[in-house]
């Protein structure tokens, strides 16, 4: 992936910019020493890295505003950063940019059980939002796999999902309001504790805008009462097609499981070797979890199992105890780690109509043979959110490029069958250059026009989301103006 060349005039002004930032922030909140800025050189897409000009760690909305105002005046690009867990390069800096990290802003500002919301600073991690309300049996629903580390700021930027969003929706469906700081330092409030927006749904467009429209410093999030209990069931099938048909039938029957997870044979073998979860020998495995009281769980599982039986499963295994449940989830939850033990891998998250599942899985197998790279599929089947893991060897020259090339073909296939490039990870730099496969020039132009409104100088996370050639004119107008 290519990134724009750094602006030499910004690099030349480093000392002045750093000193201006130091003047508005606490001691130690501006990191500019080259040995330390390295800590911010990449996110979870580790194949690409570049230390920023400086990194700042403000501790309030006002400080964020002051930082942005200075960067706006100086014409310095700003890359907002939550916890740096983006798989798409959303927090990758350029050498002439300032990383704005919200990690020090992690307070709970208000908890309101009567109105079922929590207001937090956005540096707070996803899991610790639930942590703040679980003693009262409430939880925050979106649960990305990185929830132990990832920040709410990043969840909002990428509109993150998770295994349980089949029932509870993704971030945008659980976000009620934000405090947003625009690039020129203006602070605006969008939404609040009420349910529908007044005027245009700006909150809706901020969520998922990858830090390109403003910096979200505070968020009002919907919290829900925990269900009484949850129980998974495991089922193995002879083929991917049959497992896919079973998923479709369950959804159509009106059962709404909280999660339907799918693992194919290559992943099953790796996960089984790694975790010893005791998975059956089969082509495709589903893990389906339902919630409620004991009687409600039984009622739903009865329906699910009777549908599954019509598809001649190789195995049906209902958790009889919490140990059983953990065992069923064990292999799934350790699948990524297990693959990481045997190879380097790239994880895609193209999403497809559920009905196209068999066709896309076959297509991925064909591409795997064509490129000679192993692929395992482990994904959220209920909503068609694929996660092909393409395995490669980072030490072998050309293998990363080969893997990227194959990944691009997989994503094009997803688009071709009526799906999209990314279901929950975001575009970042990773899928930036594929945007023209999904959108027309006009479709992209209107999205860029939205950025023009919020960030006319194109300073916020500028080299992301849109192909560089497409955003070139807008990004370079800034340099020309100096």
């Amino acid at each position: 992936m290519q990134m724009p060349d750094p602006d030499a005039s910004i690099l030349a002004r480093k000392a002045r910019i750093v000193s201006r930032l130091q003047a508005v922030l606490a001691q130690g909140a501006v990191i500019s020493d080259e040995s330390e800025t390295r800590a911010y050189e990449c996110d979870a897409l580790t194949a690409y890295c570049c230390p920023p000009l400086a990194a700042v760690l403000p501790s309030s909305t006002k400080e964020v505003s002051a930082v942005l105002k200075i960067c706006h005046e100086e014409g310095v690009p700003v890359v907002p950063r939550g916890s740096g867990t983006s798989l798409a390069g959303g927090a990758l800096p350029t050498a002439d940019s300032v990383i704005l990290g919200v990690a020090r802003m992690n307070d709970v500002l208000e908890t309101d059980y009567d109105n079922r919301f929590i207001r937090v600073q956005t540096g707070r991690t996803n899991l610790s939002v639930t942590g703040a309300v679980e003693e009262n049996d409430f939880f925050y629903a979106p649960d990305p796999s990185s929830q132990l580390a990832c920040a709410i700021a990043g969840n909002i930027a990428m509109n993150s999902g998770g295994a349980h969003c089949l029932k509870y929706g993704v971030t945008t469906n659980n976000l009620l309001g934000v405090t947003l700081v625009l690039m020129d330092g203006t602070i605006v409030e969008l939404g609040g504790a009420h349910l529908d927006p007044a005027g245009l749904d700006l909150l809706g467009v901020i969520c998922g805008s990858e830090g390109q429209l403003g910096v979200v410093t505070e968020a009002t999030l919907r919290i829900l009462r925990k269900p009484e209990d949850a129980r998974p069931v495991l089922m193995g099938f002879d083929s991917n097609e049959v497992a896919g048909a079973c998923v479709s039938d369950i959804i159509k029957a009106g059962v709404l499981p909280v999660a339907i997870e799918f693992m194919d044979r290559p992943i099953l073998e790796i996960a089984e070797n790694f975790s010893g979860a005791g998975y059956p020998e089969c082509e495709a495995l589903l893990i389906i979890e339902v919630e409620g009281s004991d009687a409600e769980i039984e009622e739903q599982l009865d329906k699910i199992l009777s549908i599954a039986r019509q598809h001649n499963p190789v195995e049906l295994r209902e958790a009889q105890s919490s140990e059983d449940a953990q065992r069923i989830w064990l292999g799934r939850k350790s699948a990524f780690g297990a693959v990481g033990q045997v190879a380097d891998y790239m994880c895609l998250d193209g999403t497809i109509p559920v009905s196209e599942l068999p066709r896309v899985l076959t297509g991925i197998t064909e591409l795997s043979n064509k490129y000679g790279l192993r692929v395992g599929n482990v994904f959220h089947a209920g909503d068609g959110n694929m996660h092909p893991l393409i395995m490669f060897d980072a030490n072998k020259p050309g293998d990363l490029e080969l893997c990227e090339e194959m990944g691009a073909e997989v994503l094009r296939l997803c688009v071709e069958v009526g799906g999209c490039l990314t279901g929950e990870h975001g575009v970042g730099i990773e899928k930036r250059d594929l945007m023209t496969d999904q959108f027309t020039t006009e479709d992209l132009e209107i999205q860029m026009a939205v950025k023009d409104v919020f960030d006319p100088k194109w300073l916020l996370n500028p080299a992301k989301v849109f192909p560089l050639a497409t955003s070139e004119t807008r990004r370079s107008q800034q340099m020309a103006a100096e």
Binding site: Y113, D114, N159, C165, G169, T172, T186, V188, E189, L190, G192, A193, H194, L195, D196, A198, G199, L200, D201, L202, G204, V205, C207, S209, R225, P227, E228, S248, I251, K252, S293, A295, E296, E299, Q300, I352, P353, S355, G382, D383, G384, N385, G418, C420, L421, T422, G423, G426, V427, M435, Q438, F439, T440, E442, D443, I446, Q447, A449, V453, V465
Partner: protein, 385 residues
């Protein structure tokens, strides 16, 4: 395309394809009043030409197993509901039919539903119209055909203009096609009814119920219901065993009140349609306002409003108020977390802004967005401030 001249100096354009729609907008030099079925257009628009989307009709794709339906924007809501119910499905967000309230006739279109983000009682649990809109095709104010989103459940590819277009009242573009997530109709439903609560008690009861693990899909309160007495309604939907379990748990939780359980699904449907369509406030004098607020603020806001009649939905987060004509409710309420919309106004209220005025920074952003999407300023000018 049909062009019909209506009563004094109003021309109605009715394109029959997306290409014609683009042509009409691209060549327009004066303001257009965008209309689906005209069943929600209480908003006043400064335009002599009506652009009607009814000619863009038809369901182009329906995959019940994938819970996905794609339809042209002018498709009648009733046609969509019919197609869905044939497969045991529905629109989860339960759009209200406010024709009776506003006093208009005609047929709602799916484009109008999405463009106004019209969401009914199930909004508190399932989500709003915008949450079930997976993708849109639309024509902007320059006549350019654009798309955003798609027909998959999870999609973060580029900016979410689907949300921005939902509830934009035609001010950013005219929808030509929408793709929606559908929902299977649950096996059965029941309603826990509590009689005699004050508004304050009712909001507390609804909060407690919504904060329980028994998963409500509706929580409403009428201070004076059909028989003139206060009634609080809690709806539960799902499989039979589960519904009966949760209803009895809720009845137990509120056992100190006058509580009963309605288990006849037909009666439950009728009761919630009554809430959804605000039947209580139909055919009466005065203005009708819709207040979106923090639920626990509702009792105080209703007190301050001086409303003649009220109906609470969304656990108190949505208050429908009947007010004396011509009085700006916002003045009475002062600043609060939420907003008030004038849904039906008498002649004396013609000068009241229908949409809640926005703080200056937000108004600036909204105006700038409109200028980008509609540089000629021809799409529903005057709507939404």
């Amino acid at each position: 395309m049909t062009v019909v001249s209506q009563m004094p100096a109003v021309t109605a354009l009715s394109p029959s394809s997306e290409a014609e729609l683009a042509e009409v907008i691209g060549s327009a030099t004066s303001a257009l009043h965008i209309q689906g079925g005209g069943t929600r257009s209480f908003a006043s628009v400064a335009a002599d030409t009506v652009l009607n989307t009814g000619g863009l009709a038809g369901i182009s794709l329906y995959e019940p197993g994938a819970l996905t339906l794609v339809a042209q924007a002018g498709t009648k809501l009733s046609d969509i509901q019919e197609a869905l119910s044939a497969e045991g499905q529905r629109l989860a967000f339960e759009p209200a039919d406010i024709r009776g309230l506003v006093g208009v006739e005609g047929q709602s279109t799916i484009g109008g539903v999405i463009a106004t983000n019209a969401s009914g009682p199930r909004r508190i649990q399932a989500g709003a119209a915008r949450d079930f809109t997976l993708g849109v095709r639309f024509v902007d104010g320059k006549g350019t055909v654009l798309k955003n989103g798609g027909r998959v459940m999870k999609n973060v590819t580029g900016y979410d203009l689907v949300k921005l277009l939902s509830g934009s009242w035609g001010s950013l573009g005219v929808l030509s096609e929408v793709s929606l997530k559908t929902q299977p109709i649950p096996e059965t439903q029941a309603c826990v009814l509590i009689n005699g609560l004050s508004i304050l008690e009712a909001v507390q009861v609804m909060s407690q119920a919504l904060g329980s693990p028994y998963e409500l899909t509706g929580a409403a309160h009428a201070p004076a219901g059909v028989d003139g007495h206060p009634v609080t309604m809690l709806r539960i939907e799902g499989f039979e065993g589960s519904v009966s379990y949760r209803a009895s748990k809720l009845a137990e939780l509120f056992g100190t009140y006058d509580v009963s359980i309605e288990t006849d699904p037909a009666k439950v449907s009728k009761g919630w349609q009554w809430v959804r369509d605000v039947v209580l406030l139909q055919d009466q004098s005065g203005d009708v306002w819709r207040v979106s607020c923090k639920p626990s603020d509702a009792p105080d806001l209703i007190e301050k409003s001086g409303a003649q009649q009220s109906l609470l939905d969304w656990g108190g987060g949505l208050a429908w108020l009947r007010m004396p004509a011509g009085r700006d409710l916002r003045t009475a309420l002062g600043g609060f977390d939420g907003h008030a919309t004038l849904v039906k106004g008498e002649a004396a209220s013609a000068n009241l802004p229908q949409f809640h005025p926005q703080p200056p920074a937000l108004a600036t952003l909204s105006q700038a967005l409109r200028a980008k999407f509609d540089p000629k300023g021809i799409l529903n000018p005057g709507i939404m401030g």
